[in-house]
């Protein structure tokens, strides 16, 4: 089964999370997440996730790219990741995961990225094996990506 990225639940969780809010303070950027063949855009405006959704627009610009195979993301999102998938830098240096673009901006807010990963893991764990994803502080529970 293909990996699902619960975009709306993640967006809502991030915007309601005090740790993410603090870590992402003053961060305005557009991140592209490549999950296998799927692409997602995550737009941050001053620490708020304004948009997180799948895109098929090949011309959509981004400042930062985080990319890996579905297997890479499945390992990153595991409740207890195997060695070196515990964070993005570990995956980047050891497993061929892509981190590119505005790395200075990314690393300046690396706490925020780590917290986002925590939230994604938590939501991924919550919905593991569940057909209908629960909403985590969100509005409609919409999940993008392939199921």
């Amino acid at each position: 089964m293909a990996l699902t990225i619960w975009t709306e639940a993640i967006r809502a969780a991030a915007n309601g999370d005090r740790l993410f809010g603090h870590a992402a303070r003053r961060w305005t950027s557009t991140l592209q997440l490549k999950v296998g063949d799927q692409r997602y855009i995550l737009e941050l405006l001053d620490g708020q996730v304004r948009r997180f959704e799948a895109t098929e627009d090949l011309f959509e610009a981004s400042d930062i790219t985080l990319g890996g195979t579905e297997s890479d993301w499945a390992q990153l999102l595991a409740e207890v990741p195997v060695p070196f998938y515990q964070d993005f830098i570990g995956a980047w240096f050891n497993h061929g995961f892509e981190m590119s673009g505005d790395l200075r901006g990314l690393f300046a807010h690396y706490w925020a990225l780590l917290r986002l990963l925590d939230l994604m893991r938590s939501i991924n764990g919550d919905v593991d094996g569940v057909v209908n994803a629960p909403v985590v502080g969100g509005t409609d529970g919409a999940a993008a990506g392939v199921a």
Binding site: A23, V80, P83, F93, A108, W111, L114
Partner: protein, 290 residues
């Protein structure tokens, strides 16, 4: 009187290559002297669980210095240090540990270091085998080449200490307790930005025992290497490779551990290091009775 730790902090005035350094160190316990070395860009508070563990201090005299420019050890007076880039060299690092031991008149102490301090363990065994009964390298490795490209961003003006702290949080094991991982990263929020980068000159670039590790004589100085499963900075396989090259050395794979055993998960670290402490204690006692 309320609860007070048995740890005492003092300053020692060390002369290294004609320059006087005022070195802060903490000490607790009695018995086998053991010098504990902190990691790059950090300071001795990383050892606070070890130095307050009565199972350790009942048998060991634990001494934890802050390197110059780290923690409470200021840059040396009388030197225009601000006019130079801070750079830690192997030569200075080794001389510092040896000078600390001699200054305190320690009798062939045990050396215990982590990360760059772990890398120094086999370097000391190679270059100063008569000074130490044993060296214990946590996250010691043959080398740590490959991530030098990060160094220029560790003191980049666009990035605060938050990056260093977050990066260090990321090389802890995901199963280590959250509070301990946060405490580990907290120490990295405190250091002067050029110091972390300067320390990595030794850690990333200068330290490399390829081709010479086999020259270490464990009959003169015992060598123990402990590597964390989740440490992607000092890879466990490079720790094992190092141990394989040192005849008579001991290797311990620490499952469920990251780059900072003594601070990210002390209870688990204690399980791994206790048998090693038993052995080095016996070695020290044997050599003391000769």
């Amino acid at each position: 009187m309320g609860r007070i730790a048995q740890v005492v902090g003092r300053y020692a005035y060390l002369d290294i290559d004609g320059i006087e350094y005022r070195i802060y160190y903490e000490e607790a316990g009695s018995g086998v002297p053991i010098l504990c070395q902190h990691t790059a860009g950090a300071e001795g508070r990383q050892w606070r669980h070890f130095i307050e563990d009565p199972d350790v201090t009942s048998r060991f005299r634990v001494i934890v210095p802050d390197l110059p420019y780290h923690g409470k050890s200021l840059p040396p007076a009388g030197v225009s240090w601000w006019e130079e880039d801070y750079t830690l060299t192997k030569d200075f690092f080794e001389k510092f540990v040896v000078a600390m031991s001699r200054h305190l008149e320690l009798d062939r102490p045990v050396y215990l270091g982590c990360s760059m301090g772990g890398h120094l363990a086999p370097d000391l065994a190679l270059d100063y085998p008569e000074e130490f009964t044993a060296v214990i390298g946590l996250e010691a490795a043959m080398h740590s080449h490959g991530a030098e490209g990060l160094m220029n961003y560790l003191d980049h003006p666009d990035m605060s200490n938050d990056f260093r702290a977050a990066q260090m949080y990321g090389i802890c094991a995901p199963t280590s307790p959250e509070a301990a991982r946060r405490e580990t990263s907290w120490v990295y929020l405190q250091g002067a930005p050029p110091v972390f980068k300067g320390d990595l000159n030794y850690y990333f670039i200068e330290h490399d025992l390829t081709g010479v590790a086999s020259n270490i004589d464990t009959n003169r100085c015992a060598v123990y290497i402990l590597s964390g499963e989740y440490d992607y900075s000092a890879h466990p396989e490079l720790g094992r490779e190092l141990a394989d090259q040192i005849k008579g050395s001991h290797f311990v794979a620490m499952t469920g551990m990251g780059h900072f055993p003594m601070s990210e998960n002390y209870p688990l670290f204690k399980r791994y290091v206790s048998p090693v402490l038993d052995e080095v204690s016996a070695l020290w006692s044997e050599s003391a009775t000769r």
